[in-house]
C-alpha cells in the first residue's frame, strides 16, 4: 500500500432494490492528488461519493481512512474526518442567505450560543470572492442556477478538509468560472489536500488531474496516471467499446440554404435583455454563447413566453406568432429544455414514463382524452433506448435515476413531441460522452429534417463542435456572431467579455 494513501475503498457494494449501483469496487486516493473519476451515467460515481460522505451506507466492503478501517455513519462523521463534498445536485436551503448556507456545517458544529453575523458575511465574501461576485446576503432562492452552483462550491471550500470531492461541479459553469475553480483546486492540492474530481469532460480531466479512475456499470475498471493514458483510452474503458468521432458532421455545404425558418425581431424585456434580433436558417444548428448571467436563458425563455414581460416580434416560417404563454409556444411547435432539470424540468416523484409524456399528453391518449398506459410506456421505452437511459422500471420515480440519466429523461420529454423548433439550454449537462455524442447525433438529424435547433451551452468545445453558427450574448444584448473558421474559443470569449470590438455579424435580421 502506498504510504501516501489517505482514503482507500475496497470491495464496496451498494444496491437500491434491483439496481446494483456498486459491485465490489476499489478506489484509492493519495494525499495531495487530484484524482478524476470517470464513468458513464449511472456507473455509480455519485453513489460511491455519497458513501464516502456518510450519506449512504454500503451494503458491504471496507473503507480505510489513513490506513484505519472506519465506518462513516453520517455527513457529520465525514466532516470530522475531513471530508467535504460538493453535490452533483444542488443542496442549498432556498430560504436562507448565501452566507448562512455556506457556513451551515460550521454553525452546526459551533459551540457558540449566538451567530456572529458580521464575521459570517465577511468570511463568506472572502471565499466567494475567489470565485465570482455574489452578494453573501442574497437569498439563495433568488439566484440563478449557475450562481447556486458556485455557492455550492464555495460552501465546500469553507470546510477545513483533507479530502474534497467535487461531483460534476462544472456542469453549469462557463469556461471562466471553471478555470477559476481549477486554479483553486491546484492550489489546494499543493497544500496537500486530496481532491476527487468527477466530470464527463475529458479536456478538464486531462488538463487538471493527476490520475484517473474509471467505473463502468457499478464496477471498478482501472486507475491510471494521466500521463499514461489517453482520452480515448478513458472513454474506451468507460464505455467498453470504441466511440467514433465525438461530434457529428456539420451541415453539408451543398444543403446550405438561405431559407429562414425562424426569426426574432427586437425582442426586449424590461430589465433583462434588449433589442435581440436573430434568424435561423433551415438545416443549421444555432449556438448561443455567453458568460454566466449574460441573459442567454432569459432571451430564450422570453421567446417561448415562459417568463418576463417581453415585447418584440417572433416569426415562424415568415408568419408572426401570437404567443401569450408557453402553452401557445408548444402548440406552435416551440419547445424549451430548461437548464434547471430539478427545478423546472422534471417531476421528481412521478414515474419516468409520466415525465416523458408530460409535454403533450395527446401523443399518448385516445381521442376521448384518456391516457393509454401502453402507449405511454412504449413512448418512454423507445426514447429511453434511443438515449441509452439506464433505469430499473419505467414506473420508478425519476428521483431514483442518476443525474445524467435524469437529464436524458428531460431530453426525452422534449423529443416526445414533434417540435418545429427546439431550444436546448445546457442539453448535455452531466451527460456522459457516449450519450452526449448520441444526443448530438439526434440534434443533427433533427436539424437536417428541418427542425429548428438552438443550443445554449457553457461548454465552448461543444458549441464549436456541434453548431454551424454561434451567437454571443453579453449583458442582455447580442454582442456578435461567429461561424465557420471564426468559430474559435478565443473569438467567442472575446465577444462574451467585450474585450474587443465584435467582428461583423455575417447575418442579422
Amino acid at each position: 500500500m502506498h504510504d501516501d494513501v489517505i482514503l482507500k475503498i475496497s470491495n464496496v457494494s451498494k444496491s437500491f432494490g434491483p439496481v446494483r449501483a456498486l459491485r465490489g469496487v476499489d478506489f484509492e486516493l493519495r494525499r495531495g492528488e487530484i484524482h478524476a473519476l470517470a464513468g458513464e451515467n449511472g456507473a455509480g460515481k455519485s453513489t460511491l461519493m455519497n458513501i464516502i460522505d456518510g450519506i449512504l451506507q454500503p451494503d458491504g466492503g471496507e473503507i480505510l481512512w489513513e490506513g484505519q478501517p472506519v465506518r462513516i455513519a453520517s455527513p457529520n462523521a465525514a466532516q470530522e474526518l475531513g471530508i467535504g463534498l460538493v453535490h452533483q445536485e444542488i443542496a442549498l436551503c432556498p430560504d436562507i442567505s448565501v452566507a448562512e448556507n455556506m457556513f451551515m456545517a460550521v454553525t452546526n458544529r459551533s459551540r457558540r450560543f449566538l451567530m456572529d453575523v458580521g464575521s459570517l458575511k465577511q468570511r463568506a465574501r472572502a471565499v466567494l470572492g475567489q470565485l465570482c461576485d455574489i452578494d453573501p446576503g442574497a437569498i439563495v432562492r433568488d439566484l440563478p442556477i449557475s450562481h447556486q452552483q458556485l455557492v455550492e462550491i464555495a460552501k465546500a471550500l469553507t470546510l477545513d478538509c483533507k479530502v474534497l470531492i467535487l461531483d460534476e461541479p462544472t456542469a453549469a459553469l462557463t469556461e471562466r468560472e471553471a478555470q477559476t475553480l481549477f486554479g483553486i483546486m491546484r492550489r489546494l492540492s499543493a497544500q496537500g489536500i486530496s481532491i476527487i474530481y468527477i466530470s464527463h469532460r475529458m479536456v478538464e480531466i486531462f488538463d487538471n488531474c493527476d490520475r484517473v479512475s474509471v467505473f463502468r456499470d457499478g464496477q471498478y475498471i482501472t486507475t491510471a496516471p494521466i500521463s499514461e493514458i489517453t482520452p480515448s483510452g478513458v472513454v474506451n474503458a468507460m464505455v467498453g467499446r470504441e466511440i467514433g468521432t465525438l461530434y457529428p458532421p456539420k451541415q453539408a455545404a451543398d444543403t446550405r440554404t438561405e431559407e429562414v425558418i425562424f426569426e426574432v425581431r427586437n425582442l426586449t424585456e424590461t430589465t433583462r435583455f434588449k433589442d435581440v434580433s436573430f434568424a435561423l436558417r433551415r438545416g443549421e444548428i444555432l449556438g448561443i454563447a455567453g458568460l454566466i448571467g449574460s441573459g442567454r436563458s432569459e432571451i430564450v425563455k422570453g421567446i417561448c413566453r415562459l417568463e418576463g414581460d417581453v415585447s418584440g416580434e417572433v416569426l415562424l416560417d415568415g408568419k408572426p406568432l401570437q404567443l401569450r404563454h408557453y402553452g401557445d409556444s408548444i402548440a406552435a411547435g416551440l419547445v424549451y429544455l430548461s437548464e434547471d432539470r430539478k427545478g423546472d424540468g422534471l417531476f421528481l416523484e412521478r414515474s419516468i414514463a409520466e415525465n416523458v409524456s408530460a409535454l403533450d399528453l395527446r401523443h399518448v391518449s385516445s381521442a376521448a382524452g384518456l391516457i393509454e398506459t401502453d402507449r405511454e410506456i412504449e413512448l418512454a421505452r423507445s426514447l429511453g433506448a434511443k438515449l441509452n437511459l439506464k433505469y430499473g422500471r419505467l414506473s420508478d420515480p425519476v428521483s431514483s435515476l442518476s443525474g445524467g440519466n435524469q437529464q436524458k429523461v428531460a431530453i426525452g420529454k422534449m423529443l416526445s413531441v414533434n417540435p418545429r423548433l427546439i431550444f436546448l439550454d445546457e442539453p448535455t449537462r452531466g451527460v456522459d460522452v457516449g450519450a452526449k455524442s448520441e444526443i448530438h447525433r439526434i440534434l443533427r438529424e433533427l436539424a437536417s429534417e428541418g427542425v429548428g435547433t438552438v443550443v445554449i451551452s457553457s461548454e465552448l468545445p461543444e458549441l464549436i463542435g456541434l453548431c454551424d453558427r454561434v451567437l454571443v450574448v453579453r449583458e442582455g444584448r447580442i454582442a456578435g456572431e461567429v461561424a465557420g473558421d471564426r468559430m474559435t474559443e478565443e473569438n467567442i470569449m472575446r465577444l462574451a467579455s467585450g474585450l474587443e470590438a465584435a467582428p461583423q455579424p455575417t447575418l442579422n435580421a
Partner: protein, 335 residues
Amino acid sequence: MENSIELTAAAKQGSNPVKKFLRIRETGLILIILALFVAMSFASPYFLTWVNMRAMVMAFAVEGIVVVGMTILLISGGIDLSVGSVTALAMVIAGSLFLAGVDPWLASLVAIAACTGIGAFMGFFVTRIGLHHFIVSLAVMVIARGACLLFTGGRPLGLFSLPPEFKFIGQGSIGPVPLVIIVFLVVVLCFDFMLRRSTAFRKVFYTGSNEKAAAYSGIRTKRVIFLTTTLCSALCGIAGIIYMARFGSAQPTFGLGMELNVIAAAVIGGASLNGGSGTIFGAILGAALLSVVSSSLALLDVSVYWQDIIRGSILLTAVSIDHYLNKKRDAGGKA
C-alpha cells in the same frame, strides 16, 4: 439489453394476482380494514349484517363526495378548510330559497352554483393574488359560516315540506340500496377513473408534483389550481343538497370540524399534503376506516370517556402499519 430484461421480469412478477394486489398502494389500508372487519364480526353478531353495513356506508357516503373534492385539491397542491361551512351554506341557501317559495330543484342549482362561485373566489385569491390556500380557505370558512348565520338568523330551517321526489335523493332506495350510496359510488368511480386515466386530471398531478416543471411543460398551472379549488367547493355544494334532502333540514352549524375529518381521510388514503400524489380510492378507504372505527366503538358500546382515546390510537396504529407496509412493498418490489 439490461433494461428490457429488468422490465420483463417485473412484468412477469405481476402475472400472479396476489403479488399484483400486494403492489397496489391501497393494499395496506384494505388489509387493515379487513382485519377490523374480522375482529368486529367476532366481537359483535350484529356487525356483519346488511343493515349495519348499509348504515356504516351511509354514515360516510355524503362526506365521501367532499373527500373526493378534497383529494383532487390536495393532489394539485392545495387544501380547503372551508368544506364544512360551504356544505352548510349549500343547505342554508337551498333551504331558504325553498322556504321563500322557489322550486327546490332550482333552489338546489342556485345553491350549488353559489358554492361553485365560492370556490372560484378562493381560486382567484390563490392564483391571482398569490395567497396560500390555507389562509384563504380559513377566511372563507369563517365568512361562509357567517353567511349561514345571516341567512337563517342562526336558526335551523325545517324543510319537512320538501316534495317527496326531492327527498328521494336523500332518503330513497333503488332496490335495497339507498340512492345516496349509489350517487356516492358513481361520483367515486367516475373521479377515480378520470384521475387515473384522463389527460385533464393528469395535469393535476403534474401541477401538484412540481408546479414550475408543469408550467415548463406548457400546463397552465394557475388554471388547474383554480379549477381544482372550484371543483372541491362545487362538490361541497352537491353534498350539502344531498344532506338537506336526507335530513329534511338545514342547520347553519352543520359540518363544524368536517375539514379535519375529510383531510384526514385523504391523507390516510395516501394523499400528500405537499401535492402530487393521492388516489380517490385510497381516500375513500381512509374515510371508510375512520367511519368503521367510530361505528364499531358505538356498536360495542365502549364508554364515551374511552372512545376518543381508542379512536385516536387506532388511527395512529393503522397509519403506522400502512406506512410500514408501503415502505416494505416499495423495497420488496425492487428487491
